[in-house]
Structures are given as structure tokens and as C-alpha cells.
């Protein structure tokens, strides 16, 4: 102890009287903004990041392929019907153009088909399943974008107005929502599709009609909460207009609710479209959505399973990726839900 004290400088017991050492309000830890912090948490979630990459790839491939003519060739050719997948350079059963017939594996690409390569095989009319699947994926993704759009416009606006106005307006708006919720969404969509001209616009309208409800409810609940918080009260007492308050104060604080809910609207919209097409009232032939392809594939699933596997896997991957990303975003925005 004694020799240790000798190591101390001579002025060790001088007071630090100038006060320069007092860093009173120093913030000890580096601060992160809400979004940066959420992004950091999301980046740590491997499953969510993989899903994000998969979704970006699917977007790029589905829409990029629209520019390549050979990827859009869905003309029928009875000579090339029901061919199994064949990918050049790959010699694995299932991808080399062979089929099991009468207990023996035989090459299906004979005669007129000899020079063709259908990566995902061809259907009962000889159409290229790869091109059809890409087209179907495009439809699913378009539906995803459209559902998001209506969620963000109708849903958010409805929720903010209902929550902000309160009183009678709120009561009436909530009754409308309650009535819409008292019939399964799918039934509402089917009723709408019956009176509209079949086609992608009809499906979009049907999905738009129902997809915003959940968003509206969540946004309303959050708005009710925010409405009574001091910073909003302050803005009101300063005489800011409702619209200005909505954009400046409410929307930024609703961001996480909106983003999270959007991520769950998307897969359900994709599911509904596929579902409607599966039961035959969705996208009209010859256009095909993933639901149509699965429905067609089901008919020959026992003998030509690839015709159903391909669209079923793509659809499931889309749904899984959106759901995992949604989960990841929720955990990132609301860390208490996980930790």
C-alpha cells in the first residue's frame, strides 16, 4: 500500500477546483434513432434477413423475366404436353426429363420434344411451366403491392379519422367495420367477384374492399392513445390543424404499427388471390395465377406431381418469407415482444 501511494503524482490531492471535470449532462451511451435501432435489431434476425433477400430475388426474377421473350412463351403445343422438368447439364432424376413409366425410368423428351428444355416441365397443353409460374408469381406480387397500397391509404386514413374525430363519427365508422367483420372476408370477396367482370382488376377491387379493415382498427386504437398524449395536446392547443397534426405528429408515431400490419396484410392478400383462382373464380384462363396452376396440378398430382409441386412451393415460399419478415419487423419495432 505504502509504495503504491508513492507512484501517485505529487499533486494527487489537489482539488480539481476549476470545475472542468464536471461533465454534467454528458450522455454516457451513444444514442440511436428509433428506426436505426429497429434496423439494427432486424439485421441481427437471420431468418428475417434471408426472407428479405428471397423476396427481393423473387421480385427481380419475376419482373425481370417479363423482359425476356422466351420466358413469356406460354403458347400451347399438344406435341409437348406433360413433359417432366429438364434442365440442361443436370442429370438428377426429376430434373433430367425422365419419367417413371410402368416401373421403368424412361426419357420423356422424344420426338418433337427432343430439343426442348422445360426447366419446370410443361403442362397438359404443352405450355412451359416455368413461364407460367413466373407469370403467376408476378400476379401474386402485384396483388401484394396493391393490397399494401389500399392498406396504407384507406386503412390508415379510416383509422386516423375514426380515432381522431371520436364521438358519433367514430361510432358509425366502427359499426361499419363491425358489420364487415361479421362476414368472412372471403365470402365478401366472392360476392364482389360475382358482380364484377372476371379479371385481375376485379380481384384487386375485391381484395381492396376487405384488406384495409385490420389496419383501420389498429391505427384507430393507436390514434386514440396518441390523441391524449402531451405532445399532441400541445400541438392542438397551439392551434395546429388536424391535417397537419395527422401528418406531423400522428403518422410518425404510427409507423411501426403500420409497417408491421402491412407485412401481415400482404401474405393474406396473396393467399386470397391464390384461393380464388384455385376454386376457379379468380384470374380467368388462359392467364394463370399460382392458385390456378396448383388447381391444374392437383388434377394430375398422382402421376405428374411436378405440375403441382412447382407452383405450390413458390406460393408457400412467398407466404413463408412474408410472414417471417413480418415477424422479424414486429420484433424489431417492438423489442419487448421477444426479449
Amino acid at each position: 500500500m505504502a509504495d503504491k501511494q508513492q507512484e501517485l503524482p505529487k499533486d494527487a490531492f489537489e482539488p480539481l477546483s476549476d470545475g472542468s471535470h464536471l461533465d454534467n449532462e454528458k450522455i454516457a451511451a451513444p444514442s440511436l434513432t428509433f428506426l436505426k435501432d429497429s434496423w439494427r435489431r432486424l439485421k441481427k434476425n437471420k431468418a428475417a434477413m434471408i426472407s428479405l433477400v428471397i423476396l427481393i430475388l423473387l421480385f427481380v426474377v419475376a419482373f425481370g423475366s417479363a423482359l425476356i421473350p422466351s420466358m413469356n412463351n406460354v403458347s400451347t403445343n399438344p406435341n409437348l404436353n406433360n413433359l417432366p422438368p429438364r434442365i440442361p447439364g443436370i442429370d438428377i432424376p426429376g430434373f433430367n426429363g425422365t419419367l417413371v413409366q410402368g416401373g421403368q425410368r424412361v426419357n420423356a423428351y422424344t420426338g418433337a420434344a427432343a430439343n426442348h428444355y422445360f426447366w419446370f416441365g410443361s403442362d397438359y397443353l404443352g405450355r412451359d411451366l416455368l413461364a407460367r409460374t413466373l407469370y403467376g408469381t408476378r400476379i401474386s406480387l402485384i396483388i401484394a403491392v396493391v393490397a399494401t397500397f389500399f392498406d396504407l391509404t384507406i386503412g390508415v386514413a379510416y383509422g386516423i379519422i375514426s380515432g381522431w374525430k371520436g364521438g358519433k363519427v367514430d361510432t358509425v365508422m366502427q359499426r361499419i367495420i363491425e358489420i364487415m367483420l361479421s362476414i368472412p372476408n372471403l365470402v365478401v370477396m366472392i360476392l364482389l367477384l360475382l358482380i364484377l367482370k372476371p379479371g385481375i382488376p376485379a380481384i384487386i377491387i375485391a381484395i381492396a374492399f376487405t384488406s384495409w379493415i385490420n389496419m383501420a382498427r389498429l391505427v384507430r386504437a393507436q390514434t386514440l392513445e396518441l390523441k391524449n398524449q402531451e405532445f399532441v395536446l400541445a400541438a392542438r392547443s397551439l392551434g395546429e390543424s388536424s391535417i397537419k397534426i395527422s401528418f406531423k405528429h400522428l403518422l410518425p408515431n404510427l409507423t411501426s404499427v403500420i409497417i408491421i400490419n402491412t407485412m401481415f396484410t400482404i401474405p393474406s392478400a396473396i393467399f386470397f388471390e391464390a384461393f380464388l383462382s384455385f376454386i376457379g373464380i379468380g384470374v380467368p384462363a388462359p392467364a394463370a395465377s399460382l392458385g390456378t396452376l396448383i388447381s391444374n396440378g392437383q388434377k394430375s398430382f398422382q402421376f405428374l406431381p411436378y405440375q403441382m409441386w412447382v407452383p405450390a412451393v413458390v406460393l408457400s415460399v412467398l407466404m413463408i418469407a412474408f410472414n417471417i419478415l413480418g415477424d422479424g419487423l414486429r420484433d424489431a419495432f417492438d423489442p419487448k415482444s421477444r426479449e
Partner: protein, 309 residues
């Protein structure tokens, strides 16, 4: 409580009335009549058919008589099966759908509770990861894809269960599983989140401080508190099952109302579509009402009063 019930039942009737009205007029503007597919009828035959369906009267008269009949449980005659009352069509087919729906919700929710609680208790371990993956799959894989896979593997390839049809318990297993996937996954997620929340609550900490064992804490405090709110998602789960039943019943050839609905849609059988829409609305409203009442009864924190939120 009585006032609350009366009010809820009033709203239920109001909702049914509005839904009936809206569907009626939707059907009126739809293209096609039962005669669309039979163009070769002579004018007199045509009139006869129109008269038979009451389609020659003004729309408002049709509407009033439809409402009056609907109150008496009469939804008119099916276009598809011209000798059958819609009400009979529905009542003869509602049994299998209800049975499958109940089985699916019971199996799904029970399995969901077990898996969700395990995930929460073993949070952050491989058990949690597995349960999360399983529930993501359950939510993501569409019911029709799952149905086809079950049918192909379990019935066709391995021959363990019948492929399709409706004659005995064995026939209900695969469709029940297909329908239960969604309620299972949803309730597993819900229970996990709830229980993770509950397990970090102060009263759980107090239970530990009392010296309760881990099992005692889960059994006496965590389970009840995380399962009570589960009642609130039974409504949405019922919607899931109704939605799923539309294709699942079709794929497994089950004589239920879901299969009937899809067939009616494909054949433009409007009276049946209307009747079934009202039926779905009614069932959903009843489920929501019952779950609200149960929630009020089992959660001491919620007391049902005349007004809520």
C-alpha cells in the same frame, strides 16, 4: 349483464338485417338468372319459371317478401336444384361442416396451447425455434396446398386413411388436420407471445419469491393468465376455419356447406349463395357473442357492463 346481452342480440339482428339487405341487392345487379343457361325456352315457359321464382314482381316487393321469408327461415328455392328449398339444402349440409369445424378448432387450439407454452417456457432454445418454425409453416402454407399434400401422402401413397368422402370418423381425420393447421399455428403464436409477456410480469416474480417451483408457477399463475385472452381469438379462428372449409370440403368431397357454397358460386345459384352468406354471418356473430360472454365470465378483470370501449 342482461342489458349487455339484449344490446348485443339487438346488434346481431341489425347486422343480419343489413347483411341480408346488401346481399339481396348485390344479387339483383348480378348478371344471369336461372334461365341464362336455358335459352331455348318459349316466352310462356319463361314466364312460368319467372313466376315460380317470383322474379316477375317489382324489386321492392321481391325484397320485402325475401326479408319476411328469411325471418321465417325460408330463403327461397335453389336455382341449381330446382326442387330443393335453400333452407333444406343448408340444414342438411350444416352437420358435417360443424363437426369438422369443431374438431379442427379443438385439435388446433389444444395443440397450439401445448406448443405455444413450450416455446415460451423454453424461450431462446431449440424448442422455441422449432415451435416458431412449425407455427410459421402452419400460417404460411395455404389450406388447399396442405389438403392436397395430406391427401397425396397419407391417403394415396401410404394408404393410411381414406382419400375422400364422408362415411365415418376415419374420413374426418385428414380434413380436420387440414383445417386445424391455421388455428393451431395462430393459437401457438398467440399463447407464446402472451406467456412470454406473463412470465416477465411482476406477479410471476412474486410467485418465484414465494418459493413456488417452476412447474407450480407455470401451472398456478402463468397458464391461466396467458390462456384467458386466447378466448378473444376464437372468433378470427372460426373465420379461418370457415374460409378453409370452402376448399377443404371440396378437395375431400365432404357434403358440407363450404362445398355447397363453392358449387353455388360456380353455378350462379344466387338464392343458395345468399342463404349461405347469411348463414355464415349468423354463425360468426354467434361465435363472437359467445366468446365475448365467456371472456367476461372467466376474466375477473373484465366486468361486462352496458358499454365497452
Amino acid at each position: 349483464m342482461v342489458r349487455y346481452l339484449a344490446k348485443r342480440i339487438f346488434y346481431l339482428i341489425l347486422t343480419l338485417f343489413i347483411v341480408t339487405t346488401v346481399t339481396f341487392f348485390l344479387m339483383k345487379i348480378m348478371p344471369g338468372t336461372p334461365l341464362t343457361n336455358e335459352a331455348k325456352l318459349s316466352p310462356s315457359e319463361r314466364n312460368m319459371v319467372l313466376q315460380q321464382y317470383g322474379l316477375n314482381k317489382p324489386v321492392w316487393q321481391q325484397y320485402i317478401s325475401y326479408i319476411v321469408n328469411a325471418v321465417h327461415g325460408n330463403f327461397g328455392t335453389s336455382f341449381q336444384f330446382s326442387d330443393q328449398q335453400v333452407s333444406y339444402l343448408i340444414s342438411s349440409r350444416v352437420g358435417p361442416s360443424l363437426l369438422l369445424g369443431l374438431q379442427a378448432i379443438i385439435v388446433g387450439v389444444l395443440a397450439g396451447i401445448v406448443v405455444g407454452s413450450l416455446g415460451a417456457i423454453k424461450k431462446g432454445t431449440w424448442v422455441d425455434t422449432t415451435t416458431t418454425i412449425v407455427s410459421i409453416l402452419g400460417i404460411s402454407i395455404p389450406s388447399f396446398v396442405l389438403s392436397i399434400l395430406l391427401q397425396y401422402f397419407v391417403a394415396l401413397k401410404w394408404g393410411w386413411l381414406p382419400i375422400a368422402g364422408w362415411s365415418g370418423f376415419a374420413y374426418t381425420i385428414l380434413p380436420t388436420l387440414a383445417l386445424a393447421a391455421m388455428p393451431f399455428a395462430e393459437s401457438a403464436r398467440f399463447v407464446r407471445t402472451e406467456m412470454v409477456d406473463v412470465l416477465s410480469a411482476d406477479y410471476i416474480e412474486l410467485a418465484r419469491a414465494k418459493g413456488l417451483s417452476k412447474f407450480g408457477i407455470i401451472y398456478h399463475h402463468a397458464l391461466r393468465n396467458s390462456l384467458i385472452p386466447l378466448v378473444t381469438i376464437v372468433g378470427p379462428l372460426a373465420v379461418n376455419i370457415m374460409t378453409g372449409s370452402l376448399v377443404v370440403e371440396n378437395i375431400f368431397a365432404i357434403p358440407g356447406i363450404g362445398e355447397q357454397f363453392v358449387n353455388s358460386v360456380v353455378t350462379n345459384d344466387y338464392p343458395t349463395i345468399m342463404g349461405l352468406t347469411i348463414m355464415y354471418c349468423f354463425m360468426l356473430c354467434v361465435v363472437l357473442l359467445i366468446t365475448d360472454i365467456i371472456y367476461g365470465l372467466i376474466d375477473p378483470r373484465i366486468r361486462i357492463t352496458g358499454k365497452r370501449g
